[in-house]
């Protein structure tokens, strides 16, 4: 079980947090750089020879491309995102899942990893159960989920809490480095959903609380470089 959960992170699309790149906080409409050489990336636009921010966040220059990393904001579902959700209703064809986004998500009965009798759906997933699932499609009408994949399925025991969804890439770290560090140091199982919900289960309550504090520490320090080292220091200090 533990390893499977690990792999769920690796499937997740990650933003690169290069520590050398110049970063600064910008507000919407603020000029990030001036010059015809630069290319506007995500969250920015060109106005004459200027690159202007279209969102509130951290502007980063990566070579010629200027992009903006949002640090606040609601979750915007994308295909293949691994998310954590809570079952809110059972219909004849599947489950309705609250994933903390604008649209409700639907998990069709065929997308569960094994065959489930339509009359016994609540024995597999009941209302109020928490699952980690992958987003299969995002259409105008809504979101479809799947449970077919490594590390997906019902989350039993442990607890969930929420962080700001835009901070998720930070918590995961490069190729899962940050979350793996926290897992190692606390001995907890952790699943990070792209929608900002985080599930933690540990051997005892103390380590669970410690893992949660560690995650919140990372989520708070958005503008700090070399966080993994700071995290290690934090663990040293708290022991």
């Amino acid at each position: 079980m533990r390893n499977e959960i690990n792999e769920a992170h690796e499937a997740v699309e990650e933003l690169s947090y290069s520590s050398e790149a110049k970063r600064k906080i910008v507000v919407p409409g603020e000029v990030i750089v001036e010059g015809d050489d630069y290319l506007p990336g995500e969250g920015t636009r060109r106005e004459g020879s200027k690159i202007v921010a279209s969102k509130f966040g951290l502007a980063e220059e990566a070579g010629r491309v200027v992009k903006l990393i949002p640090i606040f904001g609601a979750f915007v579902p994308r295909r293949n995102n691994v998310i954590i959700g809570r079952v809110t209703d059972i219909t004849y064809a599947g489950w309705l899942v609250d994933i903390d986004s604008a649209a409700d998500a639907f998990l069709p009965i065929e997308e569960s990893p094994r065959f489930i009798n339509r009359n016994e759906m609540d024995q597999y997933l009941a209302v109020g159960d928490v699952i980690s699932a992958k987003i299969w499609t995002v259409k105008g009408k809504g979101i479809d989920l799947t449970l077919k994949g490594k590390g997906l399925g019902k989350l039993e025991d442990g607890f969930i809490f929420r962080i700001i969804p835009s901070r998720v890439p930070r918590v995961i770290g490069r190729e899962g480095s940050m979350v793996n560090l926290i897992k190692e140091r606390t001995g907890c199982q952790i699943t990070v959903g792209q929608n900002g919900w985080i599930w933690i289960k540990g051997p005892n309550t103390d380590s669970e609380i410690k893992a949660r504090k560690a995650v919140e520490f990372v989520a708070d320090k958005v503008h700090v470089n070399g966080l993994t080292e700071k995290m290690e220091a934090w663990f040293e200090g708290s022991e």
Binding site: I25, E30, K55, L58, F72, G73, A74, A102, A103
Partner: protein
């Protein structure tokens, strides 16, 4: 020429009241901010983008913005009866129109972004303080925006143009009386998104008013920018202070 105009609180003619701007004051909201012009205090909370009910209001090509402005019952001297009024509905709508040119919700079809603006303390210029707070709260909520919106009320006491009127100045009775001119504009642009006027003014003075608005908006923009940057550097400061 009339004798030199003196403002009751001793400010210069183009001087704003002391501003306070704070972001991240409501932990449960997706974005929130507080903005104060002297004794006028406004808070704004942004929720969304989220699913829109009733369904018939949904727009399948873009998200919509829904604003709600209200005075709290203790914000004025005579208790304000709680609940929507003709005035608050008008200001809600006007605020919505003032904010719309700056935001882009095309990424979030069928959804709504709700903006709640409450006035904690009223001393004239509440709609402008509300717009300033709402603009910061929208940015804080991570909504794609072209620009921030800055808003200020200008006015005229008899023949003298002044910036950021207080309630006392709004009730000025001598000569031509008081004129109130509420303005909102895109911070880095010359586009105005709100212009309301109440009272008498000469056409040639309107241009002067707009120039004063430009000046004042620059100061307001700096305050907004500073508050937004502060919340990143010191995330606890806003929510726990």
């Amino acid at each position: 020429m009339a004798k030199e105009h003196k403002r009751p609180d001793g400010r210069k003619l183009n001087e704003l009241r002391k501003m306070i701007a704070k972001v991240g004051i409501i932990p449960n909201a997706d974005g929130s901010a507080m903005f104060a012009f002297g004794d006028t205090v406004a808070i704004a909370a942004v929720y969304g983008p989220r699913q829109l009910h009733p369904q018939h209001m949904r727009n399948s090509s873009t998200g919509i913005l829904r604003c709600n402005y209200d005075l709290l019952s203790f914000s004025v001297y005579d208790r304000k009866r709680p609940g929507p009024s003709r005035r608050s509905q008008e200001i809600s709508r006007v605020t919505e129109w003032a904010l719309l040119p700056a935001i882009d919700l095309s990424q979030f079809p069928n959804t709504v972004v709700d903006v709640q603006i409450y006035i904690l303390q009223a001393d004239a210029g509440t709609r402008t303080a509300g717009i300033n707070a709402a603009s910061m709260a929208l940015a804080h909520a991570g909504i794609p925006m072209k620009d921030l919106i800055c808003s200020v009320a200008l006015g005229k006491n008899d023949q003298t143009l002044i910036t950021d009127l207080t309630k006392e100045e709004e009730d000025y009775k001598e000569g031509e009386g008081a004129t109130d001119f509420a303005i909102a504009k895109l911070a880095n642009n010359d586009e105005f998104s709100l212009m309301q006027m109440d009272g008498k003014i000469q056409p040639e003075k309107v241009k002067e008013v707009l120039e004063m608005a430009n000046e004042a908006c620059k100061t307001i923009y700096e305050a907004q920018k500073k508050a937004l940057k502060e919340v990143v550097e010191n995330p606890q400061g806003g929510t726990e202070a």
